[in-house]
Amino acid sequence: MNAAPSRFRRLAVTLARHAARVLPGAPSSWAQAMRHELDYIADDSAALRWAFGCMLASYKARFVHRPRLSLRAAWRQLATSGALMLLIGLALQEHAGGQTEPPQPAFDETTCDLPGVSPELRPRLRCGTVSVRGITTSPTRAVSGWRSSLSRTSSSPRGRSLLSISVAAPANPSPSMPRIRPERPTRPAAI
C-alpha cells in the first residue's frame, strides 16, 4: 500500500467510519468488521465501492431496527401538527382579510350649498361627505366626475389614514344628465 493514501482511499475510510457510526448499536463488531475489511482491499476504487456498500448496509440495518411508532406518540404528533396548522390558518385568514376587503366609503349627507349650479340641477343632486379609510390617491382623482369642495386628511385611531371629501353627486344619475366637471380643491390635500 502506498505511504500517502489516495483520494479514493481517504474517501473510502471516511465512508466506512460513517457507516460504523450509522449502524445501530455502534460501535458493534459488525461495524468494526466492515471497517477493518477495508484495509485488506488493495485496489482503491474497489475499496471505495466496498465502503459505499457498507454505508448502505448500515442504513438498511438502521431502518430495519428503527423504533416502532407507538399509537400515543402518533396521536401526540398529529394533535400538535393540527394545532399548529390551525394557528397558521387563523393568522393567515386574519392577515388576508385585511388585504382582500376593499375599504368601504361612508357617505354622510349634508344640505347642498352650491352657488355655481343651475337651479334645474339642484333638486337632482345630493351633497355630503365621503370618508374612505386607507385611500392613498389624490382626492381629485378619487372623485373624478364628481364635484369636490373640500378635502382633508386625518389619522384614524388604528393608525390608518382617513380621507374625507365633501362632494356633490347626482342623486339619480342618467346618461342624458350633463356631467359635472370636478373642481380643483381649495387647498392641496396632504395624505
Partner: protein
Amino acid sequence: MPRKSNNSRQTRALLAALLERAQTWRHGYDLSKETGLKSGTLYPLLMRLSEQGLLESRWQEPERSGLPPRHVYRLTATGRALAREQELEAVATDRAGAWA
C-alpha cells in the same frame, strides 16, 4: 422480529458459498468476490444469518503486522443443514425443469 425467509437468490448464493468450504473461516471480501454480492447486500445477509443462529463469527488475528484483525464467518450446524436442504431443493427443481 419475525423470522425472514432465506429463499432469496442472494441468500442461497451465500449459503452455497459458505457450504462449499464449510469448515473454513471466510472473510467478507472473499465471500463478496465469490458470490458477486456487494457489501451493501452481503453484510445485511451475514447479520441476519448470524441473528438466526445459522452463522458463527470470530475475530482472526492478522497474518501481517500493521493490519487490523479480521472478522471471519462460517456456518453453524443448523446453517449447514439449511444450506444442504436448499441445495437439494435446487437440484430437484433443475431436474424437474429438465424433464418438463
